[in-house]
C-alpha cells in the first residue's frame, strides 16, 4: 500500500542517464522546470513533451513505474485544475448560480495540468536516475559558492542526504508496524474521520519512538567515526565532468534554443 509511492525513489538500472554527473541532472531539471513556464504557444508543449519522453526512454526506467508516481499527487492536480477552471475570466459557456465556466478557464485548466504533469515527471526522473548520495554530492558542489556568504552548505546537504536515506527506512518501518498492529486486530481502513485519526495512534507512537532511536544511533555512529562537519573533509569519489556530461549540456542548450525559436513563431 504505502510502497506505491514512487516519488523520490531510486530505480537501479544501467543507463546513460544514470551515469551522468548529478550536477548536470540538477541543472537540467531546474532549467526544464523553468522552461515549462516560459513558453506561451502550443508548439512549446510539443517540444517539451518530445524532450521529456526521449529522456525517459533514455533512462530505461519503465514508463509505467514513473506514471505510478503521479497517483500520489492527483489531489494537487484536481486542486489546481478546479481553481483555474472556475476563476479564469473570459467567455462564459456555462453558468449555474455563482459558478461560471469559461472557455479560457477550460484551456488554462488543461494546460496547467499538462505543465504540472511534465514538472513532476521531469523531477521524479532525476531521483529515479540518481542515488540520494550522488544527488546531495551534486547539490553540495553546486551550492559551494554560497559558503563565501556563510551558508552552511555542507550541513544542509548532509541533512538532506540523511533525510533522503531515511525515507525508505521509515516507509518500511511504517509498513511493518501497520502489519503488526493489524495482527492485533487494528483497523486502519474503516470508520469516520475521528475513528481513523484515533486508529493512527498505535502506528504513530512506535514510529516516532523508532525514528528517535534511529537518529540517536546514527548520531552516535557518526561521532564514533569522528565526524566533525565539513571542515577538511575529502571525498572518496569526487565529482568530475566527463565528455558525456558536456554532451548532455549541449543537448540541454539545444532544447532551450528550440524553445526560444518556437516562442518567436
Amino acid at each position: 500500500m504505502i510502497r506505491d509511492i514512487t516519488i523520490g525513489q531510486y530505480y537501479p538500472v544501467d543507463s546513460l542517464l544514470h551515469k551522468l554527473d548529478p550536477r548536470v541532472k540538477l541543472i537540467g531539471t531546474i532549467l526544464y522546470i523553468f522552461s515549462l513556464f516560459a513558453f506561451s504557444n502550443y508548439y512549446g508543449y510539443i517540444v517539451a513533451a518530445v524532450f521529456l519522453f526521449s529522456i525517459i526512454k533514455l533512462s530505461k526506467v519503465p514508463l509505467k513505474f514513473i506514471l505510478r508516481g503521479l497517483k500520489a499527487v492527483v489531489v494537487l492536480f484536481v486542486f489546481t485544475a478546479t481553481f483555474n477552471l472556475f476563476l479564469t475570466p473570459g467567455t462564459t459557456i456555462f453558468e449555474y448560480g455563482f459558478i461560471k465556466i469559461t472557455i479560457e478557464g477550460i484551456i488554462t485548466a488543461v494546460l496547467m495540468t499538462i505543465r504540472l504533469t511534465f514538472l513532476i515527471l521531469g523531477s521524479s526522473l532525476m531521483t529515479f536516475t540518481t542515488t540520494p548520495n550522488n544527488l546531495t554530492d551534486g547539490l553540495e558542489s553546486l551550492l559551494n559558492p554560497l559558503k563565501k556568504i556563510k551558508v552552511p552548505v555542507h550541513e544542509i546537504s548532509m541533512m538532506m542526504s540523511i533525510a533522503l536515506r531515511f525515507i525508505p527506512i521509515l516507509m518500511e518501518e511504517t509498513d511493518k508496524i501497520m502489519k503488526a498492529q493489524m495482527a492485533r486486530g487494528a483497523d486502519f481502513e474503516t470508520g469516520g474521520l475521528v475513528k481513523r485519526a484515533k486508529s493512527l495512534i498505535p502506528l504513530l507512537v512506535p514510529l516516532f519512538v523508532s525514528a528517535f532511536r534511529r537518529a540517536n544511533d546514527l548520531a552516535m555512529a557518526m561521532e564514533a567515526r569522528c565526524y566533525r562537519g565539513g571542515e577538511g573533509r575529502t571525498k572518496m569519489k569526487p565529482l568530475k565532468y566527463t565528455r558525456r556530461d558536456i554532451l548532455a549540456f549541449l543537448v540541454l542548450m539545444l532544447y532551450i534554443a528550440a524553445l526560444v525559436v518556437i516562442n518567436r513563431l
Binding site: 537501479p12 503488526a180 492485533r184 486486530g185 483497523d187
Partner: protein, 282 residues
Amino acid sequence: MSIIVDKLNYIYSPGTAYQKHALKDINLEILDGEFIGLIGHTGSGKSTFIQHLNGLIKATSGGIYYNGENIYDAGFNMKSLRSKVGLVFQYPEHQLFETTVFKDVCFGPRNQGLDELQVELRAYEALKMVGIDNDLLDASPFELSGGQKRRVAIAGVLAMKPEVLILDEPTAGLDPKGRDEILEQIAKLHTESKLTIILVSHSMEDVAKYVDRLIVMNRGEIAFNDTPREVFGHYKELERIGLAAPQVTYVMNELRKRGIPVSIKATTVEEAKQEILRVMKQ
C-alpha cells in the same frame, strides 16, 4: 482442523527492478496442536511465509485453507482469522505504544469487541502466562528491559486467545537466560494451553529441543519437512544451504567415526549424554 497451504507463490514488487520471487510453490499441512519449527538462512522467505497465514500478505498465486475454508474466498472473515492465528513479529517490542504495560496488552482483545471485563481479564491472564510480575502492570512499556518488553509484546497477542501462535524469531537479541525463559514459556503454552505453535528461528539448537516437526526453507522453497532427528541426519545438505545441525549431531557423528558405536539420532545435549552413558556402560 488444520492449515493447508496449496502451491503458494509470492512475488514482491512484480514488474519492477525490485521484483523478488520470495516464495515458490509452497505446499504444507499444519495440524492442530503441532509444535513446528521453521528454519532457514536469512532471506529465505520465513517472515514472508508466516504473514500469509493470517492474511497480512495476499499470495500471488495458490491458496490457503484454514479449517477447510479458503481464506481468499470473497466472504471469508479476515478479521476473525487474525484473532485465531496470532502472529508475533520479529522485534515485537517495537510496536508497543500505550502508556502502561497493561493497557498495551488490552489493545488486541479490545479490537476483538469483547466487553471491558473480559478484555482486562484476558490481558491479566496473558501477562501472567509470559511471567510479567504484577508490579510491572502500571509501568510504561518503554522503561522495561529488552526481554520484558518482548514478553509484554507476546502477551499482547496471547491476550487475543489465538488457536495458532506464530512467533518470528522471538529470541533474537536476547541473552542466553532470556532466550531459554522465553522458549520454556512457549513450550509451556503448547503443552498446557494446547496451542498450535510455529516457531521461526535461525538456531537449530533452539528448536531441536522443543519442536515435533522441522520445516527448513531455502531460497523460497521448502528444503526439508520432517522430524528434527531426520532433518539433522542431512547435516551435510544443511551446511550447503547456510545452516548447521546442532553441535551434538557433529559430536555424535565424530564419535561414531572414531569407533564408538553411539546412535547418531540424539538431537539435544541431554539425549546425547544418555546415549553416551548407555554405550559406555556396555
